[in-house]
Symmetry: C2
Subunit: 419 residues, 2 copies
């Protein structure tokens, strides 16, 4: 599969980009090679695609089902009962629709944690994007459950080959208040042995911090460090309640973080992502995530970037923090590093996924600075074309088959809500 993007803006200059099996082989004024597919790049800017660092894809099924409620009542009265009724088929359609929504928003890679692992794997494979997928590993400190979870994770790990290259299996120990020390030690060893990423909620709420202090006499990060779970394969999500010491521990272990500003505000977690400690003091690598559609409720990482940048400025009382360009680089280049993806820049020899942004959109006018305009003035609708692993997933904002996905998804969600 070869692809030629003609006359597209790249770093401010009109270029042709020739891609062979996902690898950029030529960037020139005029490429004369033949290609299986040609994309007209007129009035478009080529950029690396966006990476969504944390979500629960199939929660699209729950969008708008329950909001504006106290956390406990919301989870116990609304979200969990409906999740308990979800079938593998429901989750397939929820995840498939989430993939569609992410493609529409210029996302080609996402990091997921949800039930019925294989349903999401199938959806990712069918949609042609990239998913780092974990099951929800929860044992509630019950040894029997722990063993079941371990068995299940080994099973899906072995199964995951079937969904390559789109799907990468990851370990998803839910959080320190839902997973036993013994299970976490197994996660540590299995991750090390097979070089697997560990995807975990970390320091999202004060309750979590207090639980950890009560049970282990340590902060969540100190506890994970103590039992050796932290490494450069560890991805901690949220991190709002991390303190300076925690950030230092994460850095020392080369661990990474994912920042979910929209979810944190909506669920009122009580503290903002401590940007200054994480970035300025310790320089812990982090990227952005949307979180799931019950707590955001939109899989638009451009919107998330705006929230993240503005909250960093506000929380540090410094409008120079998290500039537009830095924000964009975190959502692309830095995120790719976190997931050990190839270099996420459009250069010869690299193989990043690519989006084309439509500069004719109003929000991108007058067009003094493309990064400022994307981060501060726009949203996912500026994305015109999406290319993942050398394949065109969307052109002119159209994804082949989208009507059927939308219809089947909507039916599934309404059926689920009335079960």
């Amino acid at each position: 599969m070869t692809l030629l993007i003609q006359g597209v803006l790249l770093d401010g200059h009109k270029k042709d980009i020739y891609i062979n099996k996902g690898i950029i082989e030529e960037i020139s004024e005029r490429c004369t090679r033949n290609a299986d597919r040609i994309i007209n790049g007129k009035d478009k800017v080529a950029l690396p695609s966006l990476i969504n660092g944390h979500t629960h894809a199939a929660m699209t099924l729950l969008r708008g089902y329950a909001d504006d409620m106290p956390l406990k009542e919301w989870l116990e009265g609304k979200i969990w009962p409906l999740e308990n009724k979800m079938t593998a088929d429901d989750i397939y359609w929820g995840s498939k629709f989430a993939c569609l929504e992410m493609i529409k928003n210029g996302i080609t890679v996402f990091n997921d944690m949800y039930w019925f692992w294989e349903s999401t794997a199938k959806a990712v494979y069918d949609m042609g994007i990239r998913g780092f997928l974990s099951a929800v590993f929860i044992d509630m400190f019950d040894i029997k459950k722990s063993m079941e979870q371990i068995e299940y994770n080994i099973e899906i790990f072995e199964l995951s080959d079937k969904y390559r290259p789109n799907v990468t299996f990851t370990l998803g120990p839910h959080a320190i208040y839902t997973v036993s020390k013994e299970s976490l030690q197994w996660v540590r060893d299995f991750s090390e042995k097979h070089n697997i990423l560990v995807h975990m909620h970390l320091s999202e709420t004060d309750e979590e911090t207090r639980f950890s202090q009560d049970r282990y006499g340590l902060s969540p990060t100190e506890f994970l460090d103590d039992i050796g779970v932290l490494s450069n394969r560890f991805i901690g999500c949220h991190g709002c309640w991390l303190d300076d010491r925690d950030c230092g521990i994460l850095k020392r272990n080369s661990a990474k973080l994912v920042h979910m500003p929209v979810s944190n505000l909506k669920l009122s977690v009580g503290r903002l992502f401590p940007y200054r400690h994480i970035k300025n003091v310790h320089n812990v690598p982090f990227c952005f995530g949307t979180d799931g559609c019950a707590s955001n409720n939109h899989l638009d990482l451009i919107e998330t970037m705006k929230f993240a940048s503005l909250l960093a400025k506000f929380s540090t009382n410094d409008p120079t923090m998290l500039s537009a360009k830095e924000t964009f680089d975190i959502a692309t280049k830095a995120a790719a590093n976190i997931f050990f993806l190839p270099e996420w820049e459009i250069k010869i020899g690299n193989s990043p996924d690519i989006i084309l942004v439509d500069t004719k959109k109003l929000e991108l006018k007058p067009g003094f600075d493309i990064f400022s305009d994307i981060v501060y003035a726009s949203n996912g609708y500026i994305v015109d074309t999406v290319i993942c692993m050398g394949k065109v997933l969307m052109e002119d904002r159209y994804v082949p088959g989208e009507e059927d996905i939308i219809e089947e998804f909507s039916k599934t969600a309404h059926r689920l809500a009335t079960k």
Copy 2:
């Protein structure tokens, strides 16, 4: 001019809506009257249009020109020098483009404060939306400037009749640190005599509060109360640094506020809008504003609503605060009250402006709750049709003549930036 919207969803039911000169004359299962124009409402929801409580429209010219800078350097080194070079023609195109961008985002009414008053008035008139327009009344405590400003405001007040019914003249004393007590007293009397709204920045920053304490020994609100400027015609913008006592004073005077969450974060004003005091304790009426494109940088009030709702939840540590429905009502019904507009609900006899939202959009699926989906999951792109004073300004997301406006605006902005 008569208009018939056929088969549109209204409060969950399919209806025909018949509008005569902007007044809703019939809402029924099937309207058999003839109309000058018929709109197909299939798969669309009819809602009252959005009201943008505070902006500086022509600052679209400065979008992306300078961001991520310390406030003083940004204003003195970038924004003010370029504003000084702006001509009446520049501002006409900047405002016209802003009107276009607002229409695209479902806004039909905005409250503006900017230079070259008549340029914006012309733009509003030409675009067919509604503008509450003030000049930027600044005298820097100079009696000569004060007299010039008073003369100029009387002049444009008299001129404003020419732009009815689209344009309503308002008084725009910039802020307590830029306008003398004597000028404010004139504003008070002129506002009372002619029943004119007063549009003013209020308690945006700590510097403003300190200035007021130093000069008058009072908070900005106390000072304005002291000299009798506060009334039900007073609209204070920002309000981040209001304290409990200030909120009580505003309420006692029936004054109103406009909340600009995006701008407040981006400019790092140091405090969040004190939602609990304003709403829960004193119930001061307020609505939302985008602010100008240099400090937001997007005239998308749906995005602003999401920021406002989420920040209210976060800042009160209560996810039930500022629910989706309440947020939507503030941006429509409550805002209309603030500007003494007619009842902003789609009911027979009322004359609100109307938007049709496209329910086929991905973000509105599965569609459990239209208000949650609008506020938490969408942005201005869900707006398909915009009707203002009975006239269709946009249908199928197309505004007649938009290509020319975009082109002329872009040329103007780039010419200005290189002057």
